[in-house]
């Protein structure tokens, strides 16, 4: 549960929300993402009020966000290409422009060769990259990441962390990353916000 909490994020800033399990980190992301409704308070995105106590003013699909779920949520019946193409179709990108955008996003995370595979045919690390590509392909104004590396081994985690830092810097992404891992926070944050009793 989140109570008496405020957060302002500047454009291009990388914020890491650090806290133990159950402190409300995922809830915070879900509120920003429009997947849950606040009981009280306000949520603003780029000078637009998107939700207030009990009222969803702008639904999730209209907020132009990228969301990387903890369980990745890759759609199993679609190929890698199909997962990204779905995003572009949803936000109204012209069909003619989609292939280039998809190739660009896949190249960013270095999974170009996997475009026509299904998620079940990918390794854990490959799935993570594809999920990141899907979150980025729509050129979101804010990237939300919910402990995306929690199920990976330490070595792979370090590699992907480095890649994410590279992407954030090159794309100047505004991002909010929630984790309970201090190493993640140290590597990824311009600013660390602690939840769970400490500020």
């Amino acid at each position: 549960m989140l109570d008496d909490f405020s957060l302002d994020v500047d454009a291009g800033e990388r914020v890491v929300v650090l806290g133990p399990s159950g402190c409300g980190k995922t809830t915070l992301l879900r509120l920003i993402g429009g997947l849950e409704l606040p009981d009280a308070g306000e949520i603003w995105l780029a000078d637009q009020l998107v939700a207030t106590g009990g009222r969803l003013l702008v639904p999730a699909h209209e907020r132009r966000l990228g969301y990387l779920f903890q369980d990745l949520a890759l759609w199993p019946h679609l190929t890698v290409w199909g997962n990204l193409e779905f995003v572009l179709g949803s936000i109204g990108v012209r069909k003619a422009d989609r292939p280039e955008r998809i190739r660009e996003a896949l190249a960013l995370v270095r999974v170009d060769a996997l475009a026509h595979r299904r998620p079940s045919e990918l390794s854990g690390g490959e799935q993570q990259r594809v999920a990141l590509a899907r979150a980025l392909v729509g050129k979101p104004r804010l990237l939300l990441l919910d402990e995306p590396f929690s199920s990976l081994d330490a070595e792979l985690r370090a590699v992907l962390r480095g890649e994410l830092v590279r992407l954030q810097q090159s794309l100047r992404l505004t991002s909010i990353y929630v984790t309970h891992d201090r190493d993640d926070a140290a590597a990824l944050a311009d600013r660390v916000v602690r939840l769970g009793g400490r500020s």
Partner: protein, 521 residues
């Protein structure tokens, strides 16, 4: 996530309206009529005759549930844990008796064990003939038809046991002990829930006790309608059935929802405890069950039907065509409405969801004759509603009324396997609800949609209790024709009609089985 102004609100709202109008109102109408009737009639429920009915009905339900579980649960365990080849085809074959109209199997029983049947000819008239028309016979017939429900539920229960729970046992105990002390107790709630569903289906069954002359509530209800035109009495007699069904459904749902086992799809490569060395025994058991439950009824009817004139089929061609078309159209309508309701059910909170489940089971278990009279009461009036009455639309309404609830439950189960995060990811990606449903959720529910359509088709094809009351004058279906000929037609003709009906519902299953066997060769 989607907001109240999304297309979801409209689509599910319309589906709920259809559900209420089609499935809830007929029963609600009958209960309202009963409530408005003169008081004191409730005392009828307590007399000795009604207590006998209650005893017979409860015994029929309990006996059927026990027999179906004794046959089905071990088969389900075998299907879950024994590495037999051609498993998909074997599962389909073992599930096939569920597709047989129960009264067709009862007819085969009568032909087999009656005074003129082959058992009497071979062993004398006193071996089984005394049991031909009896409560144990009804239990046997229904148990042989409904055991696939227990089998399929048991298989799912054993497959969903967390492999690491068994592995933790295998570290210290042999496989047999782990199976007995860990796996079986974890599967018991689901097996028990399936037994309760079989109980509900058995107590609401009309055709089998009717044919086998067993006095239970459903046969008394039919008599009250068809012979005495006493709607009030018929509705009154339905109340104990509805009470029994509600109680059984509530307990079943509680059993399943209280389970602590969680299915993990092998993320760490662990596998459930296999039963090695049981392949031959599985096939022997399956062959034995199929011989009794499927082969024997078909063989008996085929033997009796030999030599029958093809005029029988000529005379029933229209009825068969009506049944096929109405069942196909009915299954399509039901599936089209149920998918949205099933999605809604899968995504609501637990308490509301449990209440919806109980409502659906009770509606499905409502005696078909009560539903039929409720439909007549609602639609047989002046105006627009009356325009539907007297047309084939009433038969489609009967399908909606009876089978929409079970389709909702089946599709809710299918939608539950699609993680909510898939829908959320679609929303976060910019897709509206309709796009998320049609591109993300429904494609993953495809097999569930197909299997629901098939289940509803089979049920609608064999539907009798409501159809016989609402069918327009001059219009008939194959079950109606078969049932009305029972008292008058020669046994050979009845057997031929029953075979025709069985053939129509088993043929698509046989094709599906061949297709599965071909794919897994």
């Amino acid at each position: 996530m989607w907001g109240s102004r999304s297309s979801r609100t409209v689509v599910i709202g319309v589906a709920v309206a259809v559900f209420v109008a089609a499935s809830v109102l007929p029963l609600g109408y009958m209960l309202a009529r009963f409530a408005a009737a003169e008081s004191g009639s409730a005392a009828v429920l307590l007399d000795a005759r009604q207590r006998t009915l209650l005893f017979n009905t409860a015994l029929l339900g309990a006996g059927t549930a026990l027999l179906a579980t004794l046959i089905g649960a071990p088969l389900g365990l075998a299907l879950a844990r024994v590495a037999v080849p051609w498993k998909a085809a074997l599962r389909l074959a073992l599930a096939a008796p569920l597709a047989l109209p129960p009264y067709v199997v009862a007819l085969a029983w009568v032909h087999l064990t009656g005074p003129a049947g082959p058992v009497a000819s071979a062993l004398g008239p006193n071996v089984l003939s005394a049991w031909t028309y009896s409560l144990p016979a009804a239990i046997l017939v229904l148990g042989l038809v409904l055991y696939p429900l227990s089998m399929l539920a048991s298989e799912v229960a054993f497959r969903r046991i967390e492999p690491r729970l068994e592995e933790a046992g295998l570290v210290v105990a042999p496989p047999g002990r782990v199976l007995r002390r860990i796996s079986l107790p974890l599967a018991v709630p689901s097996v028990a829930a399936a037994a309760l569903v079989v109980f509900v289906l058995a107590v609401s069954e009309f055709g089998v006790p009717g044919l086998l002359r067993v006095r239970v509530f459903t046969t008394e209800i039919f008599t009250a309608f068809a012979a005495l035109y006493d709607f009030g009495r018929a509705t009154l007699l339905a109340l104990p059935l509805l009470a029994l069904s509600t109680l059984a459904a509530a307990v079943a749902i509680r059993l399943v929802s209280g389970q602590r086992v969680v299915s993990r799809r092998g993320t760490d490569g662990s596998q459930p405890l296999p039963l090695g060395g049981w392949e031959r025994r599985t096939y022997v058991a399956a062959a034995f069950v199929l011989a009794i439950a499927l082969v024997t009824p078909i063989a008996v009817l085929t033997w009796d039907a030999m030599g029958v004139s093809t005029n029988v089929f000529q005379g029933s061609r229209l009825a068969a065509r009506n049944s096929l078309v109405l069942a196909a159209v009915g299954a399509s309508f039901v599936t089209l409405v149920a998918v949205w309701l099933g999605y809604g059910r899968a995504r609501v909170r637990y308490r509301l969801g449990a209440a919806i489940d109980v409502l659906c089971v009770v509606l499905f278990a409502a005696p078909s004759t009560v539903v039929g009279v409720g439909l007549i009461g609602l639609w047989n009036r002046d105006g627009v509603l009356g325009g539907v009455y007297g047309t084939d639309g009433m038969l489609l309404l009967a399908s909606l009324a009876r089978f929409l609830p079970v389709a909702v439950l089946l599709l809710a189960g299918a939608v539950r396997y699609v993680p909510v995060s898939h829908e959320e990811a679609a929303a976060a990606a910019g897709a509206g609800w309709w796009r998320a449903m049609t591109r993300i959720v429904l494609p993953q529910v495809g097999p569930g949609l197909l299997s629901t359509w098939i289940v509803v088709f089979v049920l609608a094809f064999g539907e009798l209790g409501a159809s016989i009351l609402v069918a327009p004058p001059g219009e008939t279906t194959l079950p109606i024709r078969t049932y009305t000929l029972v008292a008058n037609a020669p046994p050979a003709e009845l057997a031929a009609l029953a075979l025709l009906q069985s053939g129509v519902v088993l043929s698509p299953l046989a094709l599906l089985g061949l297709g599965l066997a071909w794919r897994t060769r």
